[in-house]
């Protein structure tokens, strides 16, 4: 019996059936994500004593969580992070949708060009792209130089080290993440529906609003969820473009863990960040579900 079970397991592994092909990925996830997350959680709910770099005692405590929830610094920091992430997501939808629509209606060379232009920035490091914005938006950067040369301003505008610089950088870094799911969904779009809409007298804008947009809601939802998650938890862009007094949730965690060496505080902040992020993702999923409900009924 045992022998046949072993044989069956071996057959399954060799044939790649069942969950076996996913096992390496599951193991990696458990080792690099689940276990560290559990350690992080345990730190957030503990009073820790460290001696010579080693934890010597750890006792259960809700102090850090309760303090964080009542702390105005946390309220303003998370409010800022959420606003920034929602604003970035909104601008990415606004800029990404026309590009994806152009992909839908464009000729093959236009499609290829859009794909190249969308994917190319992802091939370079986000840090490099963010540094490029320092050159562009800086006091002697391209934007200020052009505005001064045109006589529109007499002294350079302060763009860098402001919230707007962070938004600009975030949109540029995350825009491809919005466009790609939109393109994936729109590629499956049945163009005969547009023709039917036109035959029924709808204008191109009307077709876009009443046919293309509702059928693309799945892509908008997926892209928005991805962009929101990345923007909400981002560290590099606010670090480089926000200046030293710009604090978002990720930079707060970094400071608590690295500079204040207060792991419990950092763990609690990370927990709040993850919980709120999950909440917003559920909202996005619910809205996407709401937006695509009628299309699923139509498909039945």
């Amino acid at each position: 019996m045992s022998k046949s079970l072993h044989r069956r397991l071996l057959d399954e592994i060799l044939s790649g059936s069942g969950i076996w092909p996913a096992v390496p990925a599951i193991v990696v996830l458990i080792v690099v994500a689940v276990i560290p997350f559990c350690i992080l959680l345990s730190l957030g709910f503990s009073e820790i004593t460290v001696a010579r770099g080693v934890i010597v005692s750890q006792e259960f405590s809700l102090r850090y969580l309760l303090t964080a929830l009542a702390d105005p610094l946390y309220h303003t920091t998370f409010q800022r992070s959420i606003t920034l992430a929602l604003l970035t997501t909104f601008v990415c939808v606004l800029l990404g949708f026309p590009v994806a629509y152009l992909f839908l209606i464009g000729k093959p060379w236009v499609r290829r060009l859009i794909l190249v232009l969308t994917i190319a920035p992802i091939l370079t490091s986000g840090i490099v792209r963010t540094y490029a914005w320092i050159v562009i938006l800086g006091g002697r950067g391209v934007v200020n130089s052009v505005l001064i040369d045109l006589g529109l301003i007499s002294a350079p505008l302060r763009i860098i080290n402001t919230q707007w610089a962070v938004v600009i950088g975030m949109v540029q870094v995350h825009l491809p993440i919005m466009i790609l799911p939109l393109i994936a969904v729109m590629s499956r779009h049945d163009r005969r529906l547009d023709e039917a809409s036109a035959n029924l007298g709808a204008s191109r804008l009307g077709t876009l609003w009443n046919v293309v947009l509702p059928l693309s809601i799945g892509g908008v939802g997926t892209g928005a969820a991805l962009v929101f998650t990345l923007s909400y938890t981002t560290f590099v862009v606010p670090q480089l473009l926000g200046g030293g007094n710009y604090l978002n949730a990720a930079t707060m965690i970094y400071e608590q863990v690295v500079y204040s060496l207060e792991w419990s505080k950092g763990a609690v902040t990370a927990l709040i960040l993850m919980s709120t992020c999950l909440f917003f993702l559920l909202v996005f999923a619910w809205l996407t579900n709401l937006g695509t409900r009628w299309t699923r009924v139509a498909q039945r």
Binding site: G53, V54, G139, G244, N245, V258
Partner: protein
């Protein structure tokens, strides 16, 4: 079963040796890993590493840039198993690292050149290491934006500098010193950092995340002046930028000695002592004192180059009034000061 032939056996043995050779060689080679500055300021350290390598075959030095605070956090995260052997650290970082238990004191009897140190400097190592240089904290300014630089720290609060001032965050030693300076400049104690923060708040400074980023902000003309390390300024001036440096007083001129400290559980303790001794040799001190670093020398009898007078205390009056922050009263509160800073400045 086919018997193993001699040819097969020799082939397998040769293959094993070839595969194992890199590991065997690596075991013979000894690499010292240290936390440095991450910039051209590492050159004197690398030079000393080369000398050490010539004395001991197979010994090499790898200098990794970064803030000391980040290294301490990494060691803490790796539960005391430091990925580094030793570091250059300023006084406040030494105090923080000692509190975390990640340092082991240097045995100064193994560093004979310590006997030549100017007695002003060893106390700043707090019994953990040996001073090798010192840096000045003054005000770097853009000559085009600030024709008349401040002479005292309190001058920064004059209306003529409003809207042009930069500040480093207090997680860096420079930023921490600035908070303390703002208190002492107005008659308070070094430890009255709440007062210092409130004074800085009045200036509405543009904040840089680190001294390096603050230097870049100065170079790009986003700020006109800021407290900065003298060596950061020296390097920027050497690259042709129109920057000046004011050795401000009241308090000061301010300095921060830099020390060699070693982390717990390092396997290269003897080499670290020898490395420290090399850095305290006259040739090494002279090399570090040269432009563009202009590191302050800590060994008696070394004459700094003429250009160093623009950055470091040079006149008898300046040398007599040279001082630092009362670090044991300030550094242990670094985490609280950073949090208080965020409460006041984050926007």
């Amino acid at each position: 079963m086919k018997p193993l032939s001699r040819r097969t056996f020799l082939g397998a043995a040769a293959g094993s040796v070839a595969l194992a050779a890199p590991n065997v060689l690596r075991a013979q080679a000894r690499e010292l890993v240290m936390i440095g500055y991450g910039s051209a300021q590492d050159d004197p350290l690398k030079r000393a590493g080369e000398i050490l390598g010539k004395r001991h075959a197979g010994v090499s030095l790898r200098v990794i840039g970064g803030l000391s605070a980040e290294a301490i956090a990494q060691i803490k995260a790796s539960r005391g198993a430091s990925p580094y052997d030793f570091a250059v650290m300023g006084s406040p970082a030494i105090i923080n690292a000692t509190d975390e238990g990640v340092l082991e004191p240097l045995d100064l009897s193994k560093v004979p050149n310590v006997a030549n140190l100017d007695p002003k400097f060893p106390p700043y190592a707090y019994g953990m290491g040996a001073p090798i240089s010192y840096a000045g904290i003054g005000i770097a300014y853009n000559k085009q934006m600030v024709p008349n630089p401040p002479k005292t720290w309190a001058d920064l609060w004059k209306p003529e500098y409003a809207g042009k001032i930069g500040l480093s965050r207090p997680q860096s030693n420079l930023g921490l010193a600035c908070i303390s300076i703002a208190a002492t400049a107005f008659g308070k104690t070094d430890a009255d950092t709440d007062f210092g923060l409130a004074k800085w708040k009045e200036l509405k400074p543009l904040v840089g995340r680190s001294p390096g980023l603050l230097q870049q902000m100065l170079e790009r003309g986003e700020i006109g002046l800021c407290p900065l390390w003298h060596d950061n300024t020296g390097l920027a001036v050497a690259s042709g930028l129109p920057l000046g440096y004011a050795k401000v007083t009241g308090p000061g001129p301010l300095i921060l000695p830099t020390c060699i400290v070693k982390f717990t559980r390092t396997a290269h303790s003897d080499l670290i002592h020898e490395f420290t001794n090399i850095l305290l040799e006259t040739e090494s001190q002279n090399f570090a004192a040269q432009p563009p670093y202009y590191f302050g020398t800590v060994v008696k009898g070394i004459v700094p180059p003429a250009g160093a007078a623009a950055y470091l205390p040079s006149t008898p009056e300046e040398i007599a009034s040279m001082t630092s922050v009362d670090w044991p009263k300030v550094a242990p509160n670094r985490g609280k000061i950073v949090e208080a800073f965020d409460r006041m400045f984050a926007g």
